[in-house]
Symmetry: C2
Subunit: 356 residues, 2 copies
Amino acid sequence: MKIAQVAPLWERVPPPTYGGIELVVSRLTDELVRRGHDVTLFASGDSYTLAKLEAVCPRALRLDPNLREYSAYETLELSQVYQRAEEFDIIHSHVGVPALLSANFVPTPTVHTLHGSFNSENINVYTHHKKQPFVSISNTQRQIDLNYVDTVYNGINLEDYPFIAQPLLTKPYLAFLGRFSPEKGPQHAINIARATGWHLKMAGKVDVVDAEFFEREIAPHIDGEHIEFLGEVSNAQKVELLGNAALALFPITWREPFGLVMIESMATGTPVIAMNMGAVPEVIAHGVTGMVCTSYEEMAAMVPVALQLSRHDCRKHVENNFSELRMVDGYEQVYEKIIQTRINQNGRIHAAKIKF
Amino acid sequence: MKIAQVAPLWERVPPPTYGGIELVVSRLTDELVRRGHDVTLFASGDSYTLAKLEAVCPRALRLDPNLREYSAYETLELSQVYQRAEEFDIIHSHVGVPALLSANFVPTPTVHTLHGSFNSENINVYTHHKKQPFVSISNTQRQIDLNYVDTVYNGINLEDYPFIAQPLLTKPYLAFLGRFSPEKGPQHAINIARATGWHLKMAGKVDVVDAEFFEREIAPHIDGEHIEFLGEVSNAQKVELLGNAALALFPITWREPFGLVMIESMATGTPVIAMNMGAVPEVIAHGVTGMVCTSYEEMAAMVPVALQLSRHDCRKHVENNFSELRMVDGYEQVYEKIIQTRINQNGRIHAAKIKF
């Protein structure tokens, strides 16, 4: 199959540290190549991939301190993609709204994975293009009526997450990993650690917009002993942080459409105590691989219960449901289904040559 | 002629106070309707126009304090426009980069007026689409190689700018009108007023990004006597401010592609002393309607010379070169030229029905 993968330009593929979407794109793209597909990845030029890389800009845009006009790069990327639409059997967009318009103009079908969430601003434009094929990354994400082809859960490469049978016993701790924004709930993680007397290790980036929140709600609690802050960590450090933890906390305050850190934690064997919002109940097997709670107080109360859960069951749950291979199986089926539908409708899939 | 006008959504059309692009779109659209064209204006829903209004969002987006995803509205607007492309003989885009991609996919031609300036970020995407028809708003604006159909200067309705034969004599003053940003040079206007001992009246908005600049460079000089600050003013106040001034200052520090305030000032009879950058030498008749200077010191030195210029000549210069009627003449010719070229190439201009 000839496949175009269209990645955001903000981070390179794969991202050096954090970056959910670009990580998924990287895993998907490389595994599709391993399975023999002819894949072209449109991304920033510092990406590395098994696919053919089409560099839209020399390096990830988040590295450019003077960035003003993100949309200029985005339009250039979509121009490069749709100009060559006829070369592909399917275009897989990970950039959301901007690709909706161009997708209508070429016979090559575009499938959009919904990595974000709906809001009052983007609902109208998604609804306007509701007939296009969409993939949701959880069932709970389907808040508006679109042409959903399937739900494909994000998957990880289990080899990147070695199983740790026994967490750190000398100085046991709870782990929080994620952006330090109110939506991710680091403030609740601190409260849970305080209420239970547990040591808490926190890691993740602090975006500029969250600097004030961090200074006000997080920084005063960091003492390096009870509450420890590690800043932005590498993938290797992330795996170590999660795997050695007794438990991971996922105290979100918004309807997160997936939540990669939950499967990363469970893959290493560490159960997750999470707030029942968004995709949490789809990702955690309640009472088996973690606890799905309805309040932050309940999360604190569930620490002793969660400590009894089987770390092997956590690992097995990710192997069965959230592996990279499983994810790629899902997308292959989606591509085949869409192409078959298009052939049935049109008797062909390719466009006449478009002049730019 | 069936014409679509595509306006930015940031301000309503016309803007209540300041807003260069939306003002030009308003004047162009209404005069095209008066001349018998069938015009559809895509803009925010609080716009008022003689054309058929297609409201993309209920009100100007700058009024929404919670705006996060401008691009969602922009994509919706372009979806609405290009979905109906076949209904128009020509699409006239005032939104820049985002319209470049869609324009390739429909047989109805799109002409892009370049209201902004080129920078390292948008040059690549403009160059990628260089074959599309562009209108520059000054000759100096043509910094990169594109398919320029013509230069059409911005124009104003002379009736909106009554001629004032004699400026205010009781307390004569120099005028500065524009955003309080470093590029517009309000700091130089203050220096010129100080150096010459003239009273200076300043008006314009202070954007959030410029608040620090304003506090540091401007605010300390405002004394309400020698240096007066009027804030954001209405159109009526603007005309009064410019018309009653002895001279207007245009001490820009960047290559501004046009500079509407120069023609607004000259229309009221007030000569302009300006820095020789961007379109300044194309707009001011040096030594007749103002002075084109190569330093801010020279601008101060030229005050006595500029005071001798004929206010009638200033008015006449705008009537002859920068009237709304002249601008609309220019765009009508551009539309006809593009449509004729397209017919010659294709034998037709309209698209097959596009499915959304």
